[in-house]
């Protein structure tokens, strides 16, 4: 009797428990959003929205707050990282899901998953000591968009690989069997059946990767030089939005601090846009299958 009652009790109240969990995470998100907006608003008002977002000069000590170079910098390193990471990541995912024998897969997969756990400051340090000197051989100081893109590529690869692999793996078995039965080779099946069928998952993995890349601060600070300028080439130094906040927040006060929070607002909006693309991509994928 006791057991039955208690089971009903748990059953009836479990939904409240999960409701509490869900509302706590929602409250935290709302609190962060409201706080960032409230702290950032004075900067938007005093500098002006247009001047803040399109201004090219950032000199906090002279009260000049223009974040266009940081927006361009963020987009440049993210785009560069994606151009490198997408072919590598999808290729690796195909290998793990379709080509590699079980033994190789059992070795590679944990290695890829381990990459996710490495703290970003370690990526930054390795980038500073390995990638920057290599880029310097090509030209410039080495602290550059190119170095940032290479380090970011390494950081987003695990996301792209593991989600893409899962989505290739979950393509219904009959698709592959049907294709092979029609006489297509394994490679033709991968290219024309499996990858298109897993497209939504692959796209989602890419967009999640972009989200991670654009928010990365510590690793970027250490390899891109942080000069506030619109980079003219891949070998030029630049600053990202997230890096810009992290570089200056310890010393900022007054309007300068508000301006850093305002950068946070811009970053927040950018990431929200990217995440809604991810949602749309995933939803569209579901309609296809």
């Amino acid at each position: 009797m006791y057991r039955i009652v208690s089971r009903y009790f748990v059953d009836r109240n479990a939904k409240y428990l999960v409701l509490v969990c869900a509302s706590i995470s929602f409250i935290i998100l709302a609190a962060i959003a409201i706080f960032t907006l409230r702290e950032g608003l004075p900067a938007f008002q005093q500098v002006g929205w247009i001047d803040f977002i399109f201004g090219t000069e950032w000199r906090p000590t002279l009260d000049k707050f223009g974040i266009a170079p940081m927006i361009v910098g963020s987009l440049a390193v993210t785009l560069g990282a994606m151009i490198l990471a997408i072919p590598l990541g999808v290729g690796c995912a195909v290998l793990l899901a379709e080509v590699a024998p079980a033994r190789v897969r059992n070795l590679l997969r944990p290695a890829v998953e381990l990459l996710v756990g490495i703290p970003s400051v370690v990526y930054g340090l390795v980038g500073m000591l390995l990638v920057v000197p290599v880029v310097r051989q090509i030209g410039g100081t080495g602290y550059s968009v190119a170095a940032g893109a290479i380090v970011l590529m390494a950081m987003v690869l695990p996301t792209i690989i593991s989600i893409s692999e899962d989505s290739i793996r979950t393509v219904p078995r009959r698709y592959k069997e049907g294709s092979l039965a029609l006489g297509a080779t394994h490679w033709q099946t991968i290219r024309h059946v499996l990858i298109p069928a897993a497209r939504s998952g692959i796209v989602a993995s890419i967009i999640l990767g972009i989200g991670r890349a654009i928010g990365e601060a510590m690793a970027m600070i250490m390899v891109i030089g942080n000069a506030v300028q619109i980079p003219a080439s891949l070998l030029d130094s630049t600053r990202t939005l997230a890096g810009g906040i992290a570089v200056e927040i310890t010393y900022a006060g007054g309007l300068h601090e508000n301006a850093l929070f305002a950068i946070g607002v811009v970053l927040f909006i950018l990431i929200m846009i990217i995440n809604s693309f991810a949602l749309i991509a995933m939803r569209r994928g579901r309609e296809h299958t």
Binding site: M128, L129, P133, I221, M222, N226, A227, T250, Y251, G253
Partner: protein, 273 residues
Amino acid sequence: MPMKQVLKRLLFIAVTSLLLPSLLTAGCGSGGLSDTVTEAGSTTVQPVAEKLAEAFKAENPDVTIVIQGGGSSVGIKSCNDGTVDIGAASRELKADEPNLVKHLLARDGIAIIIHPANPVTGLTREQVKEIFAGKITNWSKVGGENKDIFVVAREEGSGTRTAFEEMVMGKELIKSDAILLPFNGAIITAVSNTTQAIGFISFGYIKNSVKTVEIDGVAATVENAKNGTYPIVRPLYFLTKEQPTGLVKKFIDFCLGPKGQNIVAGEGYIPVS
């Protein structure tokens, strides 16, 4: 018996959450308001101030000293507001900043550092200024190899950068495409890994992996800073709104006294007495 476990755990959580606040307040409640000194400001001063506070607490166990960072500007502002008892600044006060009582705690030299393989051994202050302003861009102009100069600097707002700008740059600005790194450690790593780099750093952070440059023919050593020949030396101040009294005075006197100054020297800064 999963339900029993859940209940047990809930009970545990309930008990600890009831006890925790009382434990926390018990820790704070012992010291009255008059037994607390608060300090905030320069992050260069912060580590020394923490050591000083520790030593002071060892002698006066029932006193609480709160040391916070924030930067020199924050230190000046919050001291003037009265939000802290003592402000800390690692630079001179500007003309438009409030007039506070300054207590010279220590001096700190700023060294110009280059890669150990760079043949340059000395620069004039004018040359350093022109390099950081972007007017001299090749090492051959200052007696080095025919290679581009990579300028490495701290981020805007840093006390070390502000002091460097005041003492070396004057009205000139550090060039906008300089490599900016937000920590002293990162500056050392960057310069020690780049043969063409030049940077600046507080004396307390100098490592063997970089070479310090003689400025106007004077080596960057604590002795030269102490006897006044090394030109790039900044003051580290404790600030109070009025002449200090009571516990604040006792703490500042301790810091400026022989024991405090020993700690200051031990941290790599230049004692004032």
